[in-house]
Symmetry: C2
Subunit: 165 residues, 2 copies
Amino acid sequence: MAPNDAVLAPFRKQGHDHGKCVRDALTAAEQVCAREGASLTPLRRRVLELVWGAHAPVRAYDLLDTLRGERRRAAPPTIYRALDFLLSVRLIHRIESLNAFVGCADPKHSHGGQFLICDGCGAVAELDDPTIARRVADRARALGFTPRRQTIEISGRCPDCAADG
Amino acid sequence: MAPNDAVLAPFRKQGHDHGKCVRDALTAAEQVCAREGASLTPLRRRVLELVWGAHAPVRAYDLLDTLRGERRRAAPPTIYRALDFLLSVRLIHRIESLNAFVGCADPKHSHGGQFLICDGCGAVAELDDPTIARRVADRARALGFTPRRQTIEISGRCPDCAADG
DNA sequence: CTGTTTATGTTATATTATAACAATCTCTGT
DNA sequence: ACAGAGATTGTTATAATATAACATAAACAG
């Protein structure tokens, strides 16, 4: 097994500096958008902040509820457009098995991402193990298939929840 | 790369004997249910037949529309319950990235399954490469995570569609 | 044949997502 | 500054996916 540099975002300890995670993510986002000529408007920036705020996958309508507290005219398209933008510049990932969204732990480098999702507490860890990604892609190509996007999501129990039922 | 015994269901050629696929699947389903003491009622059997009928992922409401032609009182719960049953005995898989369902190519053996999904024609191939499954599970366990279920879906272009845009 | 469990019917509603068009903002060239 | 073009957001409506809750009926165990 390769070393753990494949771990982009581990499960977080209870008392980690959450605010710092969010600030770092926003700083990285500014840089990514500047580099790509994408426009990180206040709305988009705020939605990204809300996504990171949870440090777990967040559903679109939960974001919408929060956003409505501060922006009365927010409607579903408001959120979905912001999410679409953030997906397009890869600042967030969509967790297909939850219909929810998480901040991308390493937006500066393109990657598919592999997600460990805890059934107990909802926490998510993001991996990027190139061995897995490559093996999957090789398998696909061996069948004449041209891979474009990988969705790899593992549900189970995080270390903290493994002890419980 | 290991040989192709990891391929449970390849992409199908145009003129393959589709009816035989469906009949074989229903036969296998009878056996699996008999073995597990699960009750494959006419309704559940019919829904499984409809899922296999398409030989591609089918959405719940498409199944419902079809079913309504022959069973007037069918409603969303009718379909969702049948699908839940079929999932529980692993006769079908849910494709998370499409909100759709496909017949399981090898219901007699428990497996997570890896899916190649063509953006062009919607066809799906099902793999079960133990190397991938094991590597993913090992990675998870190395982080103290207890894996329960793997969702691995690769979208791209099947051999027939790769030539096109 | 009777109570219990399993399966299905039925109505209503929750959740997730997009279509379509209007208004506003931003940026560019002049 | 101003006009035009393109991008972003507002607004209303609705589509698509899924489940809750309770009623009825079928299967089957004692």
